[in-house]
């Protein structure tokens, strides 16, 4: 089933971590397996990279923590080797980390080099995007990664009920549009021409970390934008190019967008307030952050909407 949510503040920043956690927790019944957040803080000069070096479901043998420590040192030395000036690397959980560094080169060689470390996966990379995903419900993940104090401008999130792949972090949304800076997607539905698109995108040199169909939406959109299309144009084209039933939300450094397939088979409720725009699979999730009677509606089939800051 899965649940998706998005929120964008029209003015300034807000407690985006807390708000997204509330929205997702209100939809726990739609997917208790894993929860993911794509949060946008204030963009800075430095790049922020979220990565993990192991999975919560990995076996803990005697050398587990030793191996992790070795891997962190390896990531650090590789970042330095490729020309990044590291500001800091913080442990966010037992196996997930957040690195801040200055770097002017191409992102792909850097991300590839980091992922070459055994067990490493780059969850997000950009000037303001930070993806946090782990097993458990929204409150558990929010507490584990201390998202309550995360201030920012916009965010998307996802609660997952795993149906076709394992319950692990690689299968959890949101997906970063590897290797494009600051783009992420959450998705509710199934793509039926996944393998076609995966092969097409792989021929362009993209790597896919998961077997999840949602991952290609992120890369598809980012590739279209890299080829010169606007976010809205890329999303409209995706309605023709992607088959299946889907409702997805996409975020960039400055915008939040939604698209619904021509069957309108996956729900989405939209609230456009004076200060915020909030979208979710259920109105109950919106009411978790706007606790009063509000006017909402379901976007129609084939609709694409984008809100920019």
């Amino acid at each position: 089933m899965c649940g998706i949510a998005g929120i964008i503040y029209k003015r300034g920043t807000g407690p985006i971590g807390r708000d997204m956690a509330r929205m997702l927790q209100a939809m726990k019944h739609r997917g208790p397996d894993s929860t993911g957040y794509a949060l946008y803080g204030e963009p800075g000069e430095e790049l922020v990279m979220r990565f993990k070096l192991a999975d919560p479901v990995d076996t803990r043998d005697f050398s587990f923590s030793e191996r992790l420590a070795r891997s962190v040192r390896e990531v650090e030395s590789r970042l330095a080797k490729i020309g990044a000036t590291i500001d800091r690397i913080d442990g966010e959980s037992e196996y997930a980390y957040r690195a801040m560094f200055r770097y002017d080169g191409e992102l792909k060689p850097l991300a590839d080099y980091v992922e070459d470390v055994p067990g490493a996966e780059v969850l997000s990379l950009g000037h303001s995007l930070e993806i946090v995903k782990d097993l458990g419900d929204a409150a558990t993940v929010s507490e584990q990664y201390r998202l309550d104090g995360f201030a920012g401008t916009h965010a998307i999130g996802h609660v997952r009920m795993a149906t076709e792949s394992d319950v692990d972090i690689a299968g959890a949304h949101p997906y970063w549009a590897y290797p494009f800076s600051d783009i992420a997607v959450v998705h509710n539905g199934q793509l039926t021409n996944y393998h076609q698109w995966r092969r097409r995108l792989e021929r362009l040199g993209h790597r896919f970390q998961s077997e999840c169909d949602s991952e290609i939406i992120a890369v598809y959109l980012a590739q279209a934008m890299a080829d010169g299309a606007s976010l809205e144009t890329a999303m409209k084209q995706s309605l023709a190019d992607l088959d299946g039933v889907f409702t997805y939300l996409v975020v960039t450094g400055t915008a939040l967008g939604m698209a619904k397939d021509e069957m309108a088979a996956k729900p989405l409720v939209l609230y456009q307030g004076e200060d915020i725009v909030a979208l979710a699979s259920e109105e109950g999730a919106i009411r978790a952050v706007v606790d009063r009677e509000i006017d909402t509606y379901d976007p129609y089939e084939g609709e694409v909407m984008v809100w920019s800051r």
Binding site: E282, E283, E293, Y297, D298, Y300, E301
Partner: protein, 272 residues
């Protein structure tokens, strides 16, 4: 919200050390009982749902109706799912606020007025009664409905009245794609525009549309709008005090897919 614990009767309430809430029937709130918090004044009652769980709200509604209350006002429903379902008595219920999915499903008799919005599958399988929604509704509104009137003053999503087998659905605004999909009997009156595939694979019944039509579905054809149709629409709109468009177009089944008595060639061989 779902963590409310109940000290109701039953073996599961006995052990204080009980941690899980496993129930063989799969119920999320196996021990729920009617909270008896409604304020009853004669035949009327007011129920504040702010701190109640879904099951408590429905149990309380049922308790009130069984006790002879005929007029219930429900406050603070907070867009929760499956509220006011399975009510089988004639009564009036006013819900101030919005509801989530599966609102007022499986009802037979009540007159329900919702001042907010409803999510997907509102009034699903309604047998009789009236449901009026002041704002918008999600997809699958009035799915498999068998009787009564369902009025949505705002817009509705896709597949309105899918598999409808009776009754009337009235929409003041626009409707999405596949409106009246597999409609078998009954009427739909849409004042605004409708999406692609109107009346796709409908068997019978009629759909009236006041606005633009994106496209017709398989075997849906335009029919003559008669004086009887005019009278029906006029009467319904007077009852619910709705503004009506100047004219409607009527759509019915083209009967090209009516193959009920026709055997497949292989079957014919077997029978003859």
């Amino acid at each position: 919200m779902e963590q409310v614990t109940h000290a109701g009767p039953g073996p599961s309430a006995a052990g204080a050390a009980r941690t899980g809430r496993y129930d063989i029937r799969g119920l999320a709130e196996p021990d729920a009982t009617a909270p008896e918090t409604a304020v009853i004044t004669g035949q009327s009652a007011e129920l504040d749902a702010a701190d109640l769980t879904t099951r408590q709200i429905n149990l309380e509604l049922r308790r009130l109706l069984a006790a002879g209350v005929t007029d219930v006002t429900l406050l603070n429903p907070r867009a929760r799912h499956s509220i006011a379902v399975g009510l089988l008595l004639r009564c009036r219920i006013r819900i101030s606020g919005s509801l989530g999915y599966f609102a007022c499903g499986l009802i037979d008799g009540p007159e329900i007025h919702i001042t907010g919005r409803v999510g997907w599958s509102a009034a699903e399988n309604m047998m009789s009664g009236v449901v009026v929604v002041d704002k918008n509704a999600g997809s699958l509104t009035g799915a498999a409905m068998r009787g009564g009137d369902l009025v949505v003053r705002g817009h509705v999503g896709a597949r309105t009245g899918i598999d409808q087998k009776g009754g009337t659905i009235i929409v003041g605004g626009n409707a999405g794609s596949m409106t009246g999909f597999m409609l078998q009997r009954g009427r739909q009156i849409i004042c605004g525009d409708v999406g692609a595939g109107l009346g796709d694979s409908m068997y019978d019944g009629a759909i009236y549309v006041g606005g633009a039509i994106a496209s017709l579905g398989v075997d849906c054809v335009e029919a003559e709008f008669t004086a009887a149709d005019e009278e029906l629409i006029d009467r319904k709109f007077r009852i619910y005090q709705l503004d009506r468009p100047a004219s409607f177009r009527k759509f019915t089944c083209g009967r090209k897919l009516w193959n009920y008595d026709n055997l497949e060639p292989s079957e014919r061989k077997l029978v003859l």
